[in-house]
Symmetry: none
Subunit: 395 residues, 2 copies
């Protein structure tokens, strides 16, 4: 370049700056280093012979981010830094025009990443984001399956090794249809068999859901069991809390109209009531207050399911789980930034992850077999559920 090249300058001053708004300058315009916007703004104002008036006191700051806020002050600033109105050429021969291409090519640049860097979203980020989308759509299928009539009778081992139903299009088309029994016709206080019924359904769906997770698929069989066991109590709770029907901050209604709330049930064991309050106060209320959407819920469920610190998980699996979890965490965070803006995302993300402590607490407490018994009373579980909750005989 010839020595005076605008950008070659000194290394310390890589870009010249618009004297009007401090944006990056595109060269000298009307005698002043300025950006494209201020250049065009000045020309237009002169050409159209416009006058503006300031809504305030004629002292508005003019900055890249707010340069459009007050045209009067922007134009004043243009003059003040020395833009020369005589450099405007009133009439010129018209020039040919060309059709321009879309400003937004199919790929969106998104992600606010400041202009300085290449700003390309990394390949890795993109695949994590795609996975989040996938998780969300899987979640919808889970909802459908949960409300269907279909309910297999099988052992835990059979459930884990069998092909995944959620990804079986034929099966889903045929069976994943709302059962008439799973519609709210009237509310009634939930009894023991309601709890049983929905827990069995949720465990069934849980395993089908788990089998869609690549990280889960890659684990050895015993680690799969360990994770499932670890989530046996928390998974259904999460599902009950998140899924409709939503009856406010202190009532959980099952899809068939059975419900429970903070009403104490003195005839039940202490452990039962404690569990109930915990779920309502520590999970239901915060989750509903946050108005978590399906994508966030799907991510949340997966993050806490893929727990490297779950009991009996082999140490070889910890790294896999930890990485899988991170991928989802990061995608979730980016999702929240997009949805709520960077400012609120931090708070929201923090709140959601802190709910993990509640889940962890529930998971540990319910490991005490006595509490399980309290919670579910003396009613018999299916073989499947017994194996899930209490382990497989051979152990």
């Amino acid at each position: 370049m010839t020595g005076g090249g605008p950008s070659s300058n000194n290394s310390s001053q890589p870009e010249e700056v618009c004297l009007v708004c401090s944006d990056i300058s595109t060269g000298y315009h009307y005698g002043v280093p300025s950006c494209n916007g201020c250049k065009t703004f000045f020309r237009r104002t002169i050409m159209k012979n416009q006058t503006f008036s300031c809504q305030f006191q004629g002292k508005c700051p003019v900055d890249k981010s707010i340069r459009c806020a007050c045209r009067h002050c922007r134009f004043e600033k243009c003059l003040q830094v020395g833009m020369d109105r005589n450099a405007i050429q009133q009439n010129r021969d018209p020039i040919g025009y060309t059709k321009r291409t879309r400003r937004y090519p199919p790929i969106k640049k998104v992600e606010a990443s400041d202009e300085c860097s290449p700003a390309m979203v990394s390949e890795n980020d993109r695949s994590e984001d795609n996975f989040l989308t996938l998780l969300s759509s899987t979640e919808q299928k889970c909802c459908a399956l949960r409300l269907a009539e279909y309910m297999p009778s099988r052992t835990l081992i059979e459930a884990v090794v069998s092909d995944c139903l959620l990804t079986d299009e034929v099966f889903m088309a045929e069976h994943a249809i709302l059962s008439p029994r799973h519609r709210v016709t009237s509310l009634r206080f939930a009894n023991q068999s309601d709890y049983h019924y929905w827990h069995e359904r949720d465990w069934f769906v849980m395993i089908e859901w788990a089998k869609t997770l690549p990280v889960f698929q890659s684990l050895p069989f015993t680690d799969k069991l360990a994770l499932l066991r670890h989530s046996a109590i928390t998974y259904p709770s999460l599902v009950h809390v998140f899924n409709p029907p939503d009856h406010g901050l202190d009532t959980i209604v099952f899809p068939d109209g059975a419900y429970f709330d903070r009403t104490p049930e003195p005839t039940r064991p202490l452990g039962f009531n404690k569990k109930k309050y915990q779920m309502l106060d520590q999970l239901l209320k915060p989750m509903r207050s946050m108005e978590i959407d399906m994508t966030e819920f799907a991510a949340f469920k997966a993050i806490f399911f893929l727990n490297p610190d779950a009991d009996d998980v082999d140490s070889n699996a910890k790294k896999t789980l930890s990485d899988g979890r991170s991928a989802i965490t990061n995608a979730l965070y980016r999702y929240m930034v997009k949805k709520k803006g960077a400012e609120d995302a931090g708070d929201r993300f923090g709140r959601l992850l802190l709910l993990g402590t509640v889940l962890a607490t529930m998971a540990v407490e319910m490991k005490e077999a006595v509490l399980v018994a309290d919670f579910f009373d003396q009613i018999q579980f299916s073989t499947f559920a017994k194996q899930l909750l209490f382990g497989i005989k051979t152990e």
Copy 2:
């Protein structure tokens, strides 16, 4: 072919369609082909910072004919199809037609922009950030006190109600000096009395530390006890893990040279070894790998100490705790953004908060008195420690 009009393309593709409501698109808005209505709706929602909630299940269809039926679902759809909130600009100068104009509130604009504008931080943010700085300096005092000789003998109640030593300049100047006993001269495998000794010291410091927290100060006495009890096991663990001397990813060395690592100790109870592994594998390794600094540690400790879900915390205190915790969470997040950049902050923040699940697990498991006994064997605690771990007699 550039020759064709912008949208006339081929006759087969006459109109582009709004990805939100399937109405006719008027072009790309906020990154997405969309109609005028959805465009304006999106802008207004962001500008006014509105939140909607769905009356149904958050799955309302959004279509030209019914797009106004559920604003929550319409906005969700906008986000889902990829409308970019970063494309929203600041308020512009009104282009007066005839009547007066409406202005939106200042709008918040944060993120990446950093360098350009003063980016006025909100008053609230600033005070949260200041508090974080304070936490960090308090943490340094805690370290000093921990390594001092001074060790009071008092009951739990006396400890909680007495004036805070950490903020007593005179006391600190006189007593917070490194004791010769708390220097590593040589390493030796930790025995039972080493555990005891350091736990007693850490409990002592914990209470002095807690008394510096305004939120803690504002609580009723019984809630203070509940929080302290809840952190009785996890607080010392955190301190052991974070504080020097750092001997790598699987050894904890107390300041006086007593150490422990993954060496199994078959003569000890099972609970003891389990606890040890948990601490080393689930806390020490992740925390040291992350290279947490003192500010982050200080915030982390406070976030998990101020646990609204701790046992026996009165429901009136939950809100206070929750807010106090949020303030720190937010400040911590902003700190990480400043330190690591917006990109890495999400990941780091997530990792740190997820450690909360480990803490929660430890806290619950150790509540079983039998585990406490296992861990500490049969050696006698001080009155103070007994009250802390097992409760005060009157209960």
